[in-house]
Symmetry: C2
Subunit: 371 residues, 2 copies
Amino acid sequence: MTDTPARMRRLVSEATKDGALELRIEEVDTPRPGPGELLIKLEAAPVNPSDLALLVGPAVPEEGAREGDTLSMPVPEQAQAFLSTRLGQKLGAGNEGAGTVVAASEGAPEGMIGKRVAAAGGDMYAEYRSVPMQLVMPLPESASARDGASSFVNPMTALSMTEVMKRDGSPALVHTAAASNLGQMLQRIAKKDGFPLINIVRSPKQQAILKDLGADYALNLKEESFMKELVAACDATGATVGFDAVGGGDLAGKIITAMEISQQKKMTEYSRYGSSVHKQVYVYGRLDLSEVRVPPSVGMAWGVGGFLLTNFLASISQEQRMAMAMRVASELTTTFASHYTGELTMDELLEPEAMAKCNAKATGTKYLLTF
Amino acid sequence: MTDTPARMRRLVSEATKDGALELRIEEVDTPRPGPGELLIKLEAAPVNPSDLALLVGPAVPEEGAREGDTLSMPVPEQAQAFLSTRLGQKLGAGNEGAGTVVAASEGAPEGMIGKRVAAAGGDMYAEYRSVPMQLVMPLPESASARDGASSFVNPMTALSMTEVMKRDGSPALVHTAAASNLGQMLQRIAKKDGFPLINIVRSPKQQAILKDLGADYALNLKEESFMKELVAACDATGATVGFDAVGGGDLAGKIITAMEISQQKKMTEYSRYGSSVHKQVYVYGRLDLSEVRVPPSVGMAWGVGGFLLTNFLASISQEQRMAMAMRVASELTTTFASHYTGELTMDELLEPEAMAKCNAKATGTKYLLTF
C-alpha cells in the first residue's frame, strides 16, 4: 500500500428532509482491505440504469443546482414518499467497476497485486474500494479497465435470463427495450447458444441495430402490425417466458396475451380458462414508473413478477454462478462487450446538464465514469 | 340400468356467429358408463362463478330473450373476440354436482350402485353424467345431495390456498371477496388449522359475517384506514401470500404494497430495491374484468399470477390430492358447508331474470340447480 494515499474521494447520494436529492463528492479515509478482501484502485465504472435509480431516482436533474462539490436536485412532492426510508443517509453508489489491485489482506492471494480486475458490490464510484475476493473477477491480459467495467450487471443479467428460460422450460425468450447494451448482449448470446430471441423495440433505428446483430425477430411495438407479428413469433418459437425492462403500461400484458393466443392454437379442445401452459413475464426494470397492467386476455396460467439479479444469483448454486462468471471473462470483448456514449469524471457528473444526459434512459445511451 | 331412461335432458352453451350466447336444453342419449366410470343420476349442482364464466361470460342476461328451450343473450361487440375460439361449439356446463350412482361399468366397484356421491369433471348440468371413478367422492350417510353438491370446487380451492401458503413459506394468508361461500370456508379452515387469515371485504355487513366466524382480521377496503390496517395486519402476521378473487383494479397491487411496507420494516439496511422477501398474489377470479394493476411500490421481489384449481391439483401428488378429498368428505357439513340463496331447475334457469340473478356476483349469493 506504499503508493496509496491516506485519503480519497468518493460520491455519495443523500435524500434530504426538505425534498431534495443531493449528490456529493466527499473526502474520506482510504479503506484498508479487511480479511479476504482486495483493495482496488478504480479506473472505470459504468452508470447503469440500476445506478441511476439510486443517484437520481424520482429527482429532476434538469432542475438541479451545483454548489461546490454538491449537486442538489428537487424531488417532486408526490414522489417524496419513495425516499422516506433513506432520508438523511449517505449512500455510496456504483454497482460495478474495474481497476487495479493495489493491496491485499492477509489470507488473500498475493499474486493478485498489480492485476487488472472487475468487481461488484456497490460503492464503486470512489477512487478506491476494498472488495471481498469472491466479488472480484480477474480480467484477461488483453482487456483494459474500460473493457471490464461492465463485467457484472449486464453480462450476469443477460446470462441469468437464459438460465431462467431453461429453468422455466421455455424454448425461446421475449425481450423488451431490446436495443439496449443488455439487449445487444442477449442477442449475441442467443446467436451463439442457438435459441430464438424475440426482440421488442420502439423504432426502425433500434430494429436495425438488432438486425445487424443477426436478430431473427426485431418487432417495433409502435407499428400497427405489432401484436400480429408478436403472435406469429410466439407461434414459430413457442416462447412462454419474457423479460421486460419497461414495467409500467400494457406491454407485459400484451406479451402474455400474444403467448396465450399462440398456446391456444395448440389446444385440441376448447377451455374457457385458456391454455394450461404457464406464461411468465419478469419485470427487471421500471423505465416506465406507471402501473404494470395485465388484461383478462392472458387466460389463467400466467405470471408477472419482479426480477432482481442479486435475488436470482442467491437462488442458484455457487457452481452455476462460477460457470456464468467464467463465461463472461472469456467472452468479455466479444459477446459481452459494452459500448459507451461518453466518459465523465465524478466532478463532471455533478453538473446538472451532465447528470440529466446520463439519466436520459434513451436506449443505447450509457456513460462511463473514469477516475 | 333398468330404470334409466334412454334419453335425457342437458344444458348446453353455444356462442353464435351473430354475436349471441345461447343456453339451450337439449335431449340426448343417456350416456353409458365407459371403462372405470360410474353413471350418476344428478340431484343437485351449484352455479359457481366458474360456471357462470362459461354460461354467461361477457353476455348480458338482462337483455336476453327466451324462445322455447333456448335463452339467447347478446354479447357486447368489444367482448365478442373473447368467444372466438368457441364459436359454434355446444359446450356442456356445470363443474360439479351430487346425486346417486345408478350404474357402473365393468371394473368399477359394484357396491357403489345406490350410493350418494359428489362428482367433478364438467357437464354436470344434466340429468345423468358418467364420471371416471377418481372424480367421484362417496358422501357420508348423513349427507344429502344438496350437502354434497359443492364438494369439489370451493373446498378443494380453499384447501389448495392453504397448501400454497405452506409451499411458498408464508405464515399467513390474505384473501379478498372474503365473505363469499369460499371465503367463509377458508375462515373456518384457518380457525381449525390455527393460521392467521386477513380477510378483505367491501362492507360492514360482510365484516360482520366473518367476525361471526371468529375472524381476527376483516378489513373493509372502502374505509379510509384500509391500507394502514392492512399493513398492521401484515406486520402482525408476516403474510406474504394472498389470493384475490377480484382481479381487475388496484387491489392486488395494494396487497403486495402493504406486504412490502411491512417487510421493509424488518430490514436493517436501506436498499432501493426494497425487501428481498418474495411477495405473491394469486388471482383466482376475475370478478372485475378490467386490468390487474401493479404499482412500483411493490419493490422488486413480487409476483402476480393466475391460479386455476385444476392446474394446481395437477402439480401435486396423488397422495396430497387424496388427503385433501378425504378431509373434505369428513368435514362436509361443518368446515365445508355451503349456503345457497335459492334453488332453480334447468328450465327455470333459462328465464333471463333468473339467469341475471344467478350472474349477479354479489358476495354470498349462490344458486343451486336441482334435477
